[in-house]
Amino acid sequence: MNFKTVAKACVVSLLVSGPTWALAQNQINMAKGVTEVGAQIYGLHMLIFWICAVIGVAVFAVMFYSIIYHRKSRGVTPAQFHDSTQVEIIWTIIPFLILIGMAVPATSTLLEVYNTDDAEIDILITGYQWKWKYEYLDEQGDNVVFFSNLATSQEEIYNTDAKGANYLLSVDEPMVIPVDTKVRFLVTANDVIHSWWVPELAVKRDAIPGFINEAWTKVPTEGVYRGQCTELCGAYHGFMPIEVHAVSREEYDAWLAAKRSEKVAQTAAAQQALGFEELMASGEAVYRAQCSACHGAQGEGGVGNAIAGSAIALGEVAKHLEVGIKGVAGTAMQAFGGQLSDVDMAAVITYQRNAFGNNTGDIVQPADVVNHKQG
């Protein structure tokens, strides 16, 4: 970190209004927002800001005038006036009128935010500890579902690797939406309350278990928009970012089609037997992305218990699969059965049984996972 910039900023901020110009490379104001609603909200924000600024300048001017000119050390004799109904009425009515002026545009923007009618695409967003699930709802029932996890590595977080440009703000699989299309978000949660926020889209909605909240956006320009969970949801609340890619309609359609064929391919892959090396390699990748935050990079444990030497990882395969697929109710160990493909589940279980000194030699195939799920 640059101490010099910081020191400079400290000095300037003493002037209270000063920091606005300091640290020019740092964003200090609300995102303007790429959407129409975003721009309206930004406008409201600036309007109320300037109203406050003007009132503030007036109030502080009077105050500092008093502080400078009405001081005892200047030998003034204090006036003794007090109480004036007229003055009291004036300074009650004027703010009241300003507030009415403010309430009008605020109301119309709010109504706009709430208007989720006529959306072309519906996406069900579900908050999990600590990732998002996106489900593109399809009238034919051919939904596309995937999870979106933090892509930043533990090494970056724990300062052993250099931090990348989108540190803590990039995911393995972003949400993709087409531009110029009204997209409706149906927001809910699986465990605790989360909140789905993308500042540039000006969308923030709490994801509450048992409720489905609605929000919408219509993005005019292609681009990558990033956000974060904004409701405290447990230990890794700071590590469940959001990444939205707004793309052209064609690109979106192609992406959706690819996702659908991926789904078909995965079902097919689940029928095939894989080699040990292959399972271990993809198992390691899945482990690092999905499990290491709680079970430790070396299987040493953390929020979850140690995998190295774990009785379950060294015991029966069925028991291990059970924990992986169904989770452990009432703990942070969630049911990964619906989150990982059968191939990934097989790989990560194989990996856990053979890494960190757990040399069971067991190979778990995707077919075993499918069978286990079917009971």
């Binding site: 640290l23 109030v59 003055v87 507030l99 935010v113 440009a165 278990p209 700071g238």
Partner: protein
């Protein structure tokens, strides 16, 4: 007790005392201890946030720190400090010999330390301390909570009982113990603001108790008040919590308003501009505070009609709040101002609280709040109102009345140093939080993306300065008590008004055993 009866000796003086001054002193020291403890938690938070990446603590422990910091500061530091001040000052201000219910007074203090001991002990329990934020939203605080949550619930119950007893005592004292001639509209504003605060407390602490009891039932007795899986409603928790929580923020600030309304006229050597309108403004703030709670919940998905109602009501609160600020400034206008430490802290309050009021007004605009909510902008807002509001005014009160309490004068130069270091540290710590909040940094996160790094480092530096300045405060107070210059006259500040300045310094153990005569003109300051 007879008129010549002094304090008992040794520990039993403090354990068994029913004297309002002793109890006030204990409250003040206890709250200062909690202020230091809560401050230590804050230092851990700011040290971890000094740089991006995880350096000092694990994310789970970080959440325990933010949770305990909030709980300890709100319930352990700010609230008891004002109760302590009420104990000391209200009987002296209304010409009463003591509080109306002195034995209950002893009890309402002495259940506090065990309650906070229990809360702090959760840090050493299996699964750690509560980590769900001071707002403890279900189901994070129920189904997903560490086992220590049960102790947290018990602690909240006890401190709620303490608050209720304390406020009943204040209400009983103000209603029954005023000296003859001390009519309601002659009471000092500090007494008025506390009377109204006490009613707020009696109204909302049971609601908080209800919320934690429902949690207890959900956790241990199979109910599903807040669990959607069992047919309950997690949002219900937020409604119940904020029905307590919003009035709670006014419980914190109204006594502070009272303090400032005593001190500004004293150092302006001019009566408060609009005494009656200040009383009405306080009462209307208190009433409005019951119908604005859901402005903390704009993003939960309320129906739009509800959203609009809470937005309009919240905006309305700015009007009486503005009346207060205008009144203080008009009081200073054409006075003869001097700037001793209590006045400096009041001016600090005035400037910074007004900024906090402005951000409050911005937050009240529901659509804009979609962008502000749960970001550092909110953190900045409430630190401007709670630290620069409540804590600054409490500090002003200590400097203002300490000669009355101890019979000794604090060192003016040390007081001024304390003020300037606090003021500067505070602003370096919290002003940049407006920027990172607007730029998109969520609150309650242990690590952040790189664009927030510079301002966070600055904020941490400011926090360390502000933290250190509190040690200066402790030093000043101790030096005053043991070595401060003895004061001779009853009235320390030439512009001060009120009955407390008619008794000697230090105030004798028993005051106003014979009710004073109320001078019709100068009764209220």
């Amino acid at each position: 007790m007879g008129a010549h009866h002094g304090p008992a000796k040794g520990m039993s003086r403090w354990l068994l005392t029913t004297n309002h001054k002793d109890i006030g002193t204990m409250y003040l020291w206890f709250s200062f201890a909690m202020f230091i403890l809560g401050g230590a938690f804050a230092m851990v938070i700011r040290a971890e946030l000094f740089q991006p990446g995880m350096q000092l603590v694990e994310p789970g422990f970080f959440n325990q720190m933010t949770t305990l910091h909030g709980l300890v500061m709100v319930f352990g530091a700010i609230m008891p400090s004002f109760v302590g001040l009420a104990n000391w000052m209200i009987p002296m201000m209304i010409g009463a010999p003591d509080m109306a219910l002195p034995r209950m007074n002893n009890w309402s203090f002495w259940i506090l330390p065990p309650s906070f001991l229990m809360l702090a002990s959760t840090l050493f329990m299996e699964g750690g301390a509560p980590a769900f934020g001071w707002t403890f939203y279900a189901p994070l605080s129920t189904t997903y909570a560490p086992p220590s949550v049960t102790f947290f619930i018990f602690a909240i119950h006890i401190l709620g009982v303490s608050s209720i007893m304390g406020s009943i005592n204040i209400i009983a004292t103000v209603m029954n113990m005023r000296a003859p001639g001390m009519s309601y509209m002659k009471m000092p504003l500090f007494v008025w603001t506390w009377l109204i605060t006490a009613f707020l407390l009696v109204a909302v602490m049971p609601v908080l108790a209800g919320a934690v009891t429902m949690m207890l039932m959900d956790i241990h007795f199979g109910t599903s008040f807040f669990s959607a899986a069992g047919g309950g409603d997690p949002v219900l928790f937020q409604h119940v919590f904020w029905f307590f929580g919003h009035p709670e923020v006014y419980i914190i600030i109204l006594p502070a308003f009272g303090v400032v309304s005593q001190i500004i006229p004293a150092f302006s050597r001019k009566p408060l501009f609009g005494y009656a309108s200040m009383v009405y403004a306080t009462a209307s703030i208190a009433l409005l505070s019951f119908i604005v709670w859901a402005h903390h919940m704009y993003t939960v998905g309320m129906p739009v009609a509800g959203e609009l109602f809470f937005m309009y009501a919240t905006m309305l609160i700015a009007v009486p709040t503005g009346v207060k600020v205008f009144n203080w400034i008009t009081t200073m206008w054409r006075g003869a101002l001097s700037f001793e430490t209590p006045m400096l802290f009041c001016l600090g309050f005035l400037v910074l609280f007004t900024l906090g009021g402005f951000t409050g007004l911005m937050l009240s605009i529901a659509p804009a709040d979609f962008q502000y909510h749960d970001t550092y902008f909110v953190v900045a807002h409430f630190h401007y109102v709670m630290v620069a509001g409540a804590v600054f005014s409490m500090t002003a009160a200590v400097y203002y009345w300490i000669p009355k309490w101890t019979g000794r004068m604090y060192s003016e130069s040390m007081g001024r140093i304390h003020f300037w270091v606090s003021f500067i540290g505070f602003n370096i710590a919290f002003f940049p939080q407006h920027f990172v909040g607007l730029a998109g940094m969520p609150r309650r996160i242990p690590d952040y993306s790189l664009q927030f790094a510079d301002f966070n480092m600055m904020s941490s530096i400011g926090a360390f300065i502000y933290g250190a300045s509190q040690l200066l405060f402790l030093y000043n107070v101790i030096v005053t008590i043991v070595a401060g210059e003895k004061v001779g006259e009853d009235k320390i500040w030439d512009g001060a008004e009120g009955l407390e300045w008619t008794v000697p310094c230090p105030a004798p153990y028993h005051t106003f055993e014979v009710p004073p005569k109320i001078d019709a003109v100068s009764a209220h300051a």
